[in-house]
Each structure stands twice: as structure tokens, then as C-alpha cells.
């Protein structure tokens, strides 16, 4: 369970360019469910996602992860939480060019010091699960958009996280690939993982696999008074 209490985020505080991205979001996100954060551009979806994923700190408010308060934690604890609890799937994939798909997948697990042989075996197994075993030794720049996205998904899974966070995962995919992504999400759900997606693609937030849709507008939950 992820709980948010009156979360606010202000950028450039005290400057003329001050911008309030989140204005007091209180929310409960259930475990083992698929939740979609939706809303127009600038509504605060990605900001909220980055706060939940411990990638940024809120200006005010608290976030609890499985009952444990995480916003007050210093970076040395957050790194460990990020590494073991969250798997991130980015809109731009953020894969490292010049190395193979397999090396990209294994990269987030290196700091944990696992034996290389075991790690490689697991990475190949995960690539195989998403039909990418034949591309394991291909350079990232040789992959198609859909393949690159699936490599990004496998990379998010390498440390076996309990929460998968995906930021606009279908933004650069056609309908067929988007449906394939939703099939993978279904698989995550059946594996007992919590999935949190930001998207303004109706194909995603209207999909049957989605348990809850949270609508945001101007940094607030839709329907809440400003």
C-alpha cells in the first residue's frame, strides 16, 4: 500500500518562475493492483510518480510505503528502497547506447554484488519471457521501438521489485505494441506486483487490466476544490 498525505511540490520556490506542480494530493494506492494516473499535460502526473518512486522529494506532505514513511529518509536509505522496491519504465526508455540489451538489463543489479553467472542467467530468462532472447546480444541502437521498450521493461524487473512504475509507456508505441504492453502489465498483476502508470492514452486507462484511474488536473485530484 502506498499512502500520500497532502503532498505538494513547488519548483523554483521564491523565484519569479515559481511553479506549483502538485497542490495537496492525498491518495491511497492499493497493493497488487494496476493504477493509472491520468490527466492533461502539466497536471502533475510525472511529478507525482517521481515522488512516489523516491526520485524526488515533495515540498510538503508525506508518503508512506507499506506503512513506512519514506519522504524523511536521507538519500543513503532511498537508494536501497529505489533499487529493491521500484522498477522504472521510462517514456524514452533511457537505455544506454553502445552496449548490448543484456548488459542494459543487468546494469541495475550490479551494485547488489550478485554473482555474474546467476545474474546473467536471470536476465536471459526475463528477456526470454518477453520474447527477446534472440536480441540479448544486440546493441541497443539496432533494436526497434517496441523491442527497446521491452528491454526497458525487463531492466525494470531485474531486481524483482514489488512496484512497477511506468511513465507514459505507450507514448511512442502504435496500437498493436500498446496492446502488447498491456498484456505484459496483466502478467505483472498476476505475479502479484503493484503497477503504477501515468498515461493520457485512453487505450491504457480504459483497459480491462486497470483497477483504478486517478484523474489529475492542475496538480489536484479532479473534482477537488482548488
Amino acid at each position: 500500500m502506498i499512502e500520500l498525505f497532502d503532498v505538494r511540490k513547488v519548483f523554483n520556490t521564491g523565484k519569479p518562475s515559481e511553479y506549483s506542480a502538485l497542490n495537496g494530493i492525498s491518495l491511497n494506492i492499493s497493493s497488487n493492483k494496476v493504477t493509472v494516473l491520468t490527466g492533461p499535460s502539466g497536471s502533475g502526473k510525472t511529478t507525482l510518480l517521481s515522488i512516489i518512486g523516491c526520485m524526488s522529494h515533495p515540498t510538503a506532505g508525506r508518503v508512506k510505503l507499506s506503512g513506512r514513511e519514506i519522504t524523511s529518509l536521507p538519500e543513503r536509505f532511498l537508494t536501497d528502497i529505489r533499487r529493491k522496491t521500484f522498477g522504472f519504465i521510462f517514456q524514452q526508455h533511457n537505455l544506454i547506447k553502445g552496449i548490448t540489451a543484456l548488459e542494459n538489463v543487468m546494469l541495475p543489479a550490479y551494485p547488489l554484488g550478485e554473482r555474474h553467472g546467476l545474474l546473467k542467467e536471470r536476465a536471459i530468462h526475463l528477456l526470454d519471457k518477453l520474447g527477446l532472447s534472440h536480441k540479448a546480444y544486440s546493441q541497443i541502437e539496432w533494436l526497434s521501438g517496441g523491442e527497446a521498450q521491452r528491454v526497458g521493461i525487463v531492466r525494470a524487473l531485474i531486481n524483482d521489485p514489488s512496484v512497477i512504475i511506468a511513465d507514459e509507456p505507450t507514448a511512442h508505441l502504435d496500437t498493436q505494441l500498446s496492446r502488447r504492453f498491456l498484456d505484459i502489465v496483466e502478467q505483472f498483476k498476476s505475479d502479484g506486483k503493484t503497477v503504477l502508470i501515468t498515461s493520457h492514452d485512453p487505450l491504457v486507462y480504459q483497459a480491462g487490466v486497470v483497477d483504478e484511474v486517478v484523474r489529475l488536473r492542475d496538480g489536484r485530484l479532479e473534482g477537488e476544490a482548488p
Binding site: 498525505f5 497532502d6 522529494h57 524523511s72 536509505f77
Partner: protein, 225 residues
């Protein structure tokens, strides 16, 4: 002031530590007064980020403070040839009235800084900052001592005068200061003492006494070296 690299290093270290500690103590007091881990207010979150900065800063600052004690003693020991009468750091520190008070404060601050580092390390092991108030209360106590130490240290180094005749450690720490055999012999009038010395000389140099005297002299050599 004597422009010696060790003196300059001491002054820079003292000013850096003071500046950092005063800056940190200001935020430390804010943290001490307003800290409330239960709150999700903007102030609390700002303080949480600030304590991360302040404790990191202080870890290095107090590390420097620990080293500065040894640097100070090393500097005094390096400077003693510049002062007439000094034979080691003890003499160099008594060149003016600020040498020893600075040393005493440095030893005290060494212990306090060490205690703060231990507290900080223990506090950093837990998720919920259990020692944060105690840590910053201790910092508020340490800060004035650090500032006084810097003032005294600056006074000591800036008022070092090579014309001052100082004392060696044998004179400074002798238990016979003021009275005793050594001071009584030293206080004897010069002429009768000279006569007494030369009268007793033939007897001391007799064949029987030469070997004894020679052995004593040989035994005394390592002591004098």
C-alpha cells in the same frame, strides 16, 4: 606573526572550522527548535534536507578539528628553534600567554568533536533521526568553545615574537620550581662557587676518582643527549 607554512595551515584550519561550525550551529538551533518528525510541513521537510547537508558538513569539519590538535602540537614543535630558550613544543607554547590555553581548549574540543561524530554516526544508522535533538544541542554547546579556541589560536600565532626568551620544558615542568637543590645551586653567588669548584677539582681528578668520575660522566651522556 611568523610566516611559516604550518602557522598558515593552522590559521586556515581554525578559521574554516569556526566558520563551518557557526553556520551549522545556526541551522542546528533551527532544527533543534522546530523539529517534528510527525509533521509533513514545508518547514519540517526543509529541515530534513538541511540536516543532511549540515551533518555531512560537520563530519568533515570535525574531522579537521581532530587533525588540528596534532597540527597545532606539530607546529609548536617545528617552531621552537626560532625562540631562545625553547628546546621543544613546550617552550614554543610558552612564548606568549595564549599558547597553553589554546592547547587545553584544543584537547577539550577534540573530545567534544569526537563525541559529536559518534552521536552523528549513531543517528545516521536509524531511519527516524532518534538522536537529532541531542546532536544539535551538543553542537550548540561546542560552537562557542570552537570560536574561543580560534580567537586564542589567532592571538597565539599573531603575537608570536622571536625576540622573546622562553623556557625549556625542564624548567617549565620541574617540581623544584622556586625552591629545591637545583634552584639553590643556581642561586649561589658566582665567585665563591667558582672557588669551590676549582678547589675540589684536583680531588675529583685523582687517579682513584677519575675512573668513577669517568663512568658517571659516561652514564650521564645519554641523559644529556
Amino acid at each position: 606573526m611568523i610566516l611559516h607554512p604550518a602557522v598558515i595551515a593552522n590559521i586556515i584550519a581554525a578559521l574554516t572550522v569556526s566558520l563551518m561550525v557557526v553556520y551549522s550551529a545556526y541551522y542546528g538551533l533551527r532544527i533543534y527548535r522546530h523539529w517534528n518528525i510527525e509533521s509533513g510541513s514545508e518547514l519540517q521537510l526543509t529541515l530534513e534536507r538541511r540536516t543532511y547537508l549540515v551533518s555531512t558538513l560537520l563530519s568533515y569539519t570535525f574531522g579537521l578539528q581532530l587533525i588540528s590538535l596534532f597540527l597545532y602540537v606539530f607546529t609548536a614543535d617545528t617552531l621552537y628553534p626560532l625562540f631562545v630558550g625553547a628546546m621543544c613544543a613546550a617552550g614554543a607554547l610558552s612564548v606568549n600567554v595564549f599558547g597553553y590555553p589554546t592547547l587545553i581548549l584544543k584537547v577539550g574540543n577534540f573530545l567534544l568533536a569526537g563525541l559529536w561524530l559518534v552521536l552523528n554516526h549513531a543517528d545516521n544508522q536509524a531511519y527516524d533521526y532518534p538522536l537529532i535533538r541531542k546532536k544539535y544541542l551538543l553542537l550548540a554547546i561546542i560552537a562557542p568553545f570552537i570560536v574561543v579556541e580560534t580567537i586564542l589560536e589567532l592571538d597565539y600565532f599573531l603575537k608570536l615574537d622571536a625576540n622573546v626568551i622562553t623556557s625549556c620544558c625542564g624548567a617549565l615542568f620541574s617540581s623544584e620550581r622556586g625552591e629545591g637543590l637545583g634552584s639553590e645551586i643556581a642561586a649561589l653567588p658566582a665567585l665563591p662557587t667558582l672557588w669551590a669548584f676549582y678547589i675540589t677539582l684536583p680531588r675529583r681528578c685523582s687517579p682513584a676518582s677519575i675512573s668513577i668520575f669517568g663512568e658517571k660522566a659516561a652514564m650521564s651522556i645519554p641523559l644529556w643527549r
